[in-house]
Subunit: 119 residues, 4 copies
């Protein structure tokens, strides 16, 4: 893993270790935490029109709030990886490959049809 | 950014560009997609006891399924970062710092009390 | 409770009892199931513009799909109520009262500002 | 519809009308709001063991908190029904019928296997 990402991983692991929080971080609980944080991410955008949202995300407040909520979701995903010994970059690379075969360019270009409905 | 993570980012961007999918990837839609993928992640664990889940996640099938669902959520988070010019590693580092000040070790060690309830 | 709603409740309870599913329906698991079903609800709308979505929801297919996903979320909420002896209509009535005091008409009319930000 | 449920529906509709909130309540936004509220529901249980959660839900505080979060999710589901002219009780009754045919008692009794995996 790259040193930058490795440093982040170590920081997240240390944060949890220093607080003795591994006892709470079962996979099931971490997935509930991901769901809780996604709820906060949804709250950022829930009542804004696309136009209002675009304006809001140009402001420092909007940009910071979105960043923090995205980060909260991601931190718990990284905790799942740490608890289950999954390599974050590897599993994303592999999933992009799978997605590429489920959504061939010639069938999926310019549409959002689900792979199971593609003809 | 590190070359490994940079490569992943480029791959995810290229995947979307080749299919002309940026038109669908508004922030609001991407957050809905994050919510949809978290639903699939929840489905992996929803009816299993902690014991059954631990067994399942030791199997190749369980490990692969969890990996793929974590990756799906993460890929959409990275798409939000790409659409909004957020540096994924930076925003996570910053949020860990914020969390560290919200949850001081001497108050939070060994408990899961929310920061707003800490005394 | 009204007979119509009571009949629905009994049907949902009987569905679970006949399959001996109460063993899986812990509150934590039911909340994960709610999250899983909300993911499917999000999937219905995730890539559609407001205009496309309005068209889709006028079609029998769109209307049926939305109805089924809303129902799936609601059924698990009702299961939580059954497991915890909560009166569905009562708790909603009470929450609407709470919301009414958090969002007074004179402060909230025509805006979507969160109660904690209202002045 | 029963008078009790009808009264609740009218109250929820009036709450929104008095605040002129229909402008914010597009189906997409309401689904984001459902996701946000499910996040708060997940937060109630996320770090508790099954044992701790059972204790918590026996306390007035725990019972009230769970009730309020369940109600918040349900209220937005009812708003979706109101915006799309769906009969809440009808769509749930219909979905229970569908589920009964997807999960026949003789195949599903005592297990939590997904219908698509049932043999």
């Amino acid at each position: 893993m790259s040193s930058e990402l490795e440093d982040l991983f170590k920081k997240i692991q240390a944060f949890s270790d220093e607080r003795d929080w591994s006892q709470f971080h079962t996979v099931k609980n971490l997935i509930l935490a991901v769901s809780a944080e996604v709820g906060e991410l949804a709250e950022v955008v829930q009542w804004k029109s696309d136009q209002e949202l675009a304006e809001y995300l140009k402001t420092p407040e909007g940009k910071t709030r979105l960043s923090e909520e995205v980060a909260d979701v991601a931190i718990y995903l990284l905790r799942i990886c740490q608890q289950q010994n999954l390599d974050f970059v590897d599993i994303l690379n592999q999933k992009v490959e799978i997605n590429a075969s489920k959504y061939p360019v010639n069938k999926s270009k310019g549409n959002s049809i689900k792979y199971s409905e593609l003809k």
